[in-house]
Symmetry: C3
Subunit: 156 residues, 3 copies
């Protein structure tokens, strides 16, 4: 079941997506290294190298704090989210860390059952293989979409 | 051309999608085992463990019957469908059956050439490898989207 | 990092997408063989075997010419594009050329940050492995979507 590095990384992305979509936020944080970096940026800011990030965490502890806030605030009208992660590509490996990019599309479905595009963009990640499988050492989300009112709250 | 189990399963999903999108329904039924289970559920019902399914077939014969009905009823304004299947992940293997999940997005394009989201959701499948390649022993479609008037008619 | 033929082809598709989405058009043309064929068709025309193509190039030189035009005309309101390429499937190999199909979804995000579906459809390609990696010998884009006013201009 081990598979190639690419297959292991595809599995990591699938687990990342299903943890978020199922709201298993503790499982989601477990996919990051203790010492890690997680950042959500708008493409506009990223391209202009502006520092302002929508989400900025530089440890798993900070990610867990954010998740705690999320659990308390996710009382807004119930939405299903669905991540489609494609174009997964390994760019290279150095000191055991794989540089990986991918594209994502997140769809939201309202309580009434209507589905709409929530966000699309790309991931620029660094992934290391620990004994318990691959984990994110660094994950930068660069969102094309910015016309969404609650982007601040939700990891992508 | 054989590839890893994951690569064979990716091929099965691609064939599943193109058979449906090209309306080659007989080819589509051939991707299931004789003894199989195919079910389409709304996420709402699935999460509440309600028994009502949008489609429920417990043999390839039943799937073929449904396909026959489809061919007769697909006289409604012509639509192209397009399946994007992502996040394919093997969860384990027991007695030759692989437990596999994936996400899907189905887009419909009208006769006027306009494309809109038809349905998104996930697959929870069991896949076995026969002499003629991998086949679905069990396929459960759990649709996030429910605000669609003709969901009953069309496999996902 | 080499991986299976399917993994190399997945990498080619990821590079194809990111070159277009990042507007690195020269990098994009480098993914084609010198002698190649690139064509964009509407599904409607394709199914009726009508010859009219939205884009038709039968060499890399012609593709480069089109790219030059693109660079001059892409002064219309700034849009981000995002390609999601899925369902990548090898159908066979003959004389070193792999027949490959895939589905795509292209999303456009306006300057205001709103994302909408631009085009969906499929690729029917032939890919050869050169010393510098896999390249497109033939690429046919068959677009389901036709209700888009600027389809003529942009490669898919």
């Amino acid at each position: 079941m081990a598979g190639s590095p690419l297959e292991s990384i595809m599995t990591l992305f699938a687990d990342y997506a299903s943890a978020l979509d199922d709201r298993r936020f503790n499982d989601w944080t477990e996919l990051f290294c203790e010492q890690c970096h997680y950042e959500v940026q708008s493409k506009e800011n990223w391209d202009l190298r502006l520092p302002a990030a929508l989400i900025y965490c530089d440890s798993r502890g900070m990610i867990q704090d954010r998740v705690t806030v999320l659990k308390d605030t996710l009382t807004y009208p119930y939405l299903h989210s669905r991540h489609l992660i494609t174009n997964i590509r390994i760019h290279g490996e150095a000191d055991g860390a794989y540089r990986v990019s991918a594209n994502y599309l997140v769809l939201h479905t309202t309580e009434e059952g209507e589905t709409r595009i929530y966000s699309t963009g790309k991931y620029q990640d660094e992934i290391v293989f620990s004994e318990s499988g691959p984990k994110f050492l660094k994950k930068i989300v660069i969102a094309d979409t910015s016309a969404i009112d609650n982007l601040l709250a939700v990891p992508l």
